[in-house]
């Protein structure tokens, strides 16, 4: 029938960019990032991370439509920074945080399991 393929929810179609950057023409230091085939899972985490950055004035995300599998993040920063810089910093920071989290979790598990056996 006309049901869309199941993999369309997470496979980026050929010729489409995973992440697209578009500068806002009306507001200084503002931009929109469009990420294909992602959802609240990463959107909300990035928004959280951007808010922690003192140079970010505005950060928000939305899913334009439940059947369009894409995520839109809008960022506005102070003149000392740029949306691209803030985005890069947020994601690399997040990456490091998660690395740390994984390490702490695994240490705790190893300790717990050594207590049991």
């Amino acid at each position: 029938m006309n049901a869309p393929d199941r993999y369309e929810r997470f496979v980026v179609p050929e010729g489409m960019k995973k992440v697209a950057y578009e500068r806002d023409m009306k507001i200084m230091n503002a931009a929109t990032f469009t990420i294909q085939r992602e959802d609240h899972t990463i959107g909300n985490v990035i928004r959280m991370q951007l808010h922690r950055d003192p140079s970010v004035l505005f950060a928000g995300y939305r899913l334009p439509h439940p059947l369009q599998y894409k995520l839109v993040i809008k960022i506005q920063t102070t003149s000392q920074s740029s949306p691209m810089q803030a985005y890069n910093l947020a994601v690399t920071d997040l990456d490091k945080e998660l690395d740390h989290l994984k390490q702490v979790f695994q240490e705790e598990i190893a300790q717990k399991q050594s207590e049991y056996y």
Binding site: F10, K18, N44
Partner: protein, 366 residues
């Protein structure tokens, strides 16, 4: 108007510190009898600029404050506390566990014979739901146009005939243990491209499966019920997938989190009131405390058991005596695995998937 204090006489707020009521709003959800309040998490770095408080959070601060405490763990379930993370991250892990950690599940069923009362499509659906004991990390995803091989497909056969022997009926119910693993691939005759399996070698010869044969995680799942004379003969192909496509690939029964409850007694409660509070709580959170001289007090001995039923803040004046809160940065995370992977491995996989997502959206930014 005489005893109204001048603004100039008010004590200065210490710099770099939030006043108590704002600190409460920042770190707690206050659960009153009617509704919870301060549910949002304040993330904006300049939110408390007026008090000279920097609300930004950097990697170093995170590393200092983050803690994990495992409460219990076994092969199926685990409960652990994560302290010092935001709801956004906790929710990301929950979402990934439910929908994005891969497992193996039966996707194609080739039915040669089915004379049971259960229809082919219903039977196929039931087979799909059976959790399979196979580590998905040893397998690859199978594309639609790809041939099935030993790295992407697990083949099972089911061949049962129900017979009557005197008073007894054999195979009256078909159980999941009757699914037989075919490590050499499909035994059905070559028919179509999808049905054919081209196994390079037997899966039972591969080191990862040599010691632990692949089977259903639970032997006693009823697949169908038969009467004498009825039979089922079929072959099923299990492939790797994620819960986003279909819930049968979800590796967890549930993955959930809740914020740690905190109960503060704002007044000293004695004797009758203390007894009343202990009796009010269905989760048995409070204990009677001996204050000496025959007086009885009360304390919140097991706040973790609190289900937030809010019984303790219901009724006249109780909201003034008891303050019921949740800690915004303390998450009690529970994972119930379906069995293909132990829960701690599932969580590590979830972290890896999130790291992977981060790296992709930074690497593919042109």
């Amino acid at each position: 108007m005489k005893d109204r204090p001048s603004v100039m006489d008010l004590p200065d707020l210490p710099k770099g510190e939030l006043p108590a009521h704002l600190e409460l709003q920042r770190t707690r959800v206050v659960c009153a009898a009617d509704a919870p309040s301060y549910t949002e998490s304040v993330q904006y770095s300049g939110a408390y600029m007026a008090f000279g408080v920097d609300n930004s959070l950097r990697l170093e601060d995170f590393k200092k404050s983050f803690k994990v405490e495992v409460k219990y763990i076994n092969d199926d379930d685990m409960e652990f506390d994560m302290i010092g993370i935001d709801a956004a991250l906790a929710n990301a892990f929950r979402r990934i566990l439910l929908a994005e950690v891969p497992t193996m599940a039966i996707e194609k069923v080739f039915i040669a014979n089915n004379t049971s009362v259960i229809q082919d499509e219903v039977l196929a659906h039931r087979l799909g739901m059976i959790p399979i004991k196979a580590d998905p990390r040893h397998f690859e995803y199978k594309a639609d146009d790809e041939n099935a091989n030993e790295k992407n497909t697990i083949v099972f056969k089911l061949n049962v005939v129900c017979t009557r022997k005197g008073d007894r009926v054999n195979n009256a119910s078909v159980k999941s243990e009757q699914l037989i693993w075919l490590p050499e691939g499909s035994e059905m005759p070559f028919d179509t491209k999808t049905k054919f399996t081209a196994f390079g070698c037997g899966q039972d010869k591969l080191p990862e499966f040599a010691s632990s044969p692949i089977c259903s995680q639970y032997p006693d799942i009823t697949i169908a019920k038969l009467r004498p004379g009825q039979a089922i003969e079929l072959e099923c192909h299990a492939i790797k997938g994620i819960g986003k496509t279909h819930a049968k690939w979800s590796p967890v029964a549930t993955a959930r989190y809740r914020m740690h409850p905190e109960i503060v007694l704002t007044e000293v409660l004695e004797d009758d009131l203390a007894e009343e509070l202990v009796a009010k709580c269905p989760a048995k959170v409070f204990d009677i405390e001996d204050l000496g001289k025959g007086r009885k007090g009360v304390k919140a001995a097991r706040p973790r058991d609190c289900t937030l039923c809010r019984e303790c803040v219901r009724g006249e004046d109780w909201e003034k005596r008891v303050s019921l809160r949740r800690l915004k940065e303390h998450f009690i995370f529970t994972i119930e695995s379906t069995g293909s992977l132990p829960p701690n491995v599932l969580f590590t996989e979830a972290i890896k998937i999130l790291i992977d997502k981060c790296q992709r959206i930074i690497a593919e930014l042109s």
